[in-house]
Amino acid sequence: MSSKPKKQNYQASEAEKTQASVAKAEKDYFDQTYAPLLREMRDTSMKEDLTGVSRGVASADTMQTLTGAGPTLSGSRSVDEAADLASAAGSQMIAANTVGLGAQRQEQVGVLGAARGQAGEAQSGLAAASRIQNTKDLQAAKAKQQIRMARANAIGQLGTTFALQGMKNKAGGGSFFKPGDIKEGQSRLDYGMGQMKDYFGIG
């Protein structure tokens, strides 16, 4: 008859004990080193003002885009420049609040996921908070302002050319509106075409 089973034969082997003690050492190290970091991240994700960061970026973007070139007379006279600025800034701020809160939630969900042993999001909320897309209101206001400035520039350029040409006509022996070298009976069209041919060296 076989002998009675011995308890020591059913105990953990040396290899199993070593494996378990290595695992316990790793576990203790994790608890001492990484667990406090995760708790720190939890507190940061609750306290950090990511909306403030994104609002700062949005505000700077709006003001730089719409008022960065400084005040202009045409802008001050415009009936809708301030209204466009208000509209664009309001839209940007709402977008900034959304981005900031979204980044904060992402960070919080990441912490909870890690705490619950699920995959955590490694992305920093701060980086996400500063990525604000320009709202269509800001783009529209910018486009409108560019058109307004281009129009003012074009008017300025035409006015300057007009004045300079008038003075040149007078200096050439003609009147302000009539050049000195225009022939008697020659039409303005003929004179203009001749000037252009000379300029481009044709004929």
Partner: protein, 192 residues
């Protein structure tokens, strides 16, 4: 961390040895203790945080902030306009033109409020839904892990119960065999 600090740290690490490993005689007990401690830590450190995050699926802060935001931006734009006009000595605008500017700013403010509220509502809904989806994903993972743990525990328990039943059956059949043998020996000894 500077490179020097890193090197010092590495030198310190090299002094560690395997003899500093904790002694584990009963891995099962250690595992049970760690599992219990982990769950206690989760309750203490993260249960409240988790509940707060679950509540955040009904957050309305974006919508609540929108009206104040629009009013503030309108005020800032009106201030800029006033200062620019004073810089250009009124910019040659008539009273009617000034009034048109102000009316336009006011109208844009109201439109901005309506548009901003709509945008904030959509953004809030989207954000809350995303939070909920993320939480559900985490919950699903937790549920899956819990189910796996339960399955392993019940499997182990069922295996142990079956082993016990088998051992009991083996023991009783062994005892019966032994009894029959002793009985046979007695019959032979007394030559019945």
């Amino acid at each position: 961390m500077a490179l020097q600090d890193y090197q010092n740290n590495m030198a310190q690490t090299r002094n560690y040895s395997v003899s500093s490993l904790p002694a584990v005689n009963d891995p099962e007990k250690v595992y049970a203790d760690i599992s219990r401690r982990d769950f206690e830590s989760y309750l203490k450190d993260y249960r409240g945080f988790e509940n707060q995050l679950i509540e955040a699926r009904n957050d309305t802060s974006l919508v609540d902030r929108a009206p104040g935001e629009i009013a503030k931006q309108n005020e800032i734009a009106a201030g800029i306009q006033r200062r620019n006009l004073s810089r250009y000595g009124g910019a040659g605008l008539s009273i009617a033109q000034r009034q048109a500017q102000e009316a336009n700013l006011q109208r844009q403010g109201q439109l901005g409020l309506a548009g901003g509220l709509n945008t904030a509502r959509i953004a809030q809904r989207d954000l809350n839904k995303r939070t909920l989806t993320d939480l559900i994903n985490i919950g699903q993972g937790v549920n899956r892990t819990a189910n796996q743990g339960l399955a392993t525990a019940s499997q182990n328990s069922a295996q142990k119960a079956a082993a016990y039943k088998n051992a009991k059956a083996a023991h009783s059949s062994q005892m019966m065999g032994m009894g029959a043998q002793i009985g046979s020996l007695a019959l032979m000894a007394f030559a019945i």
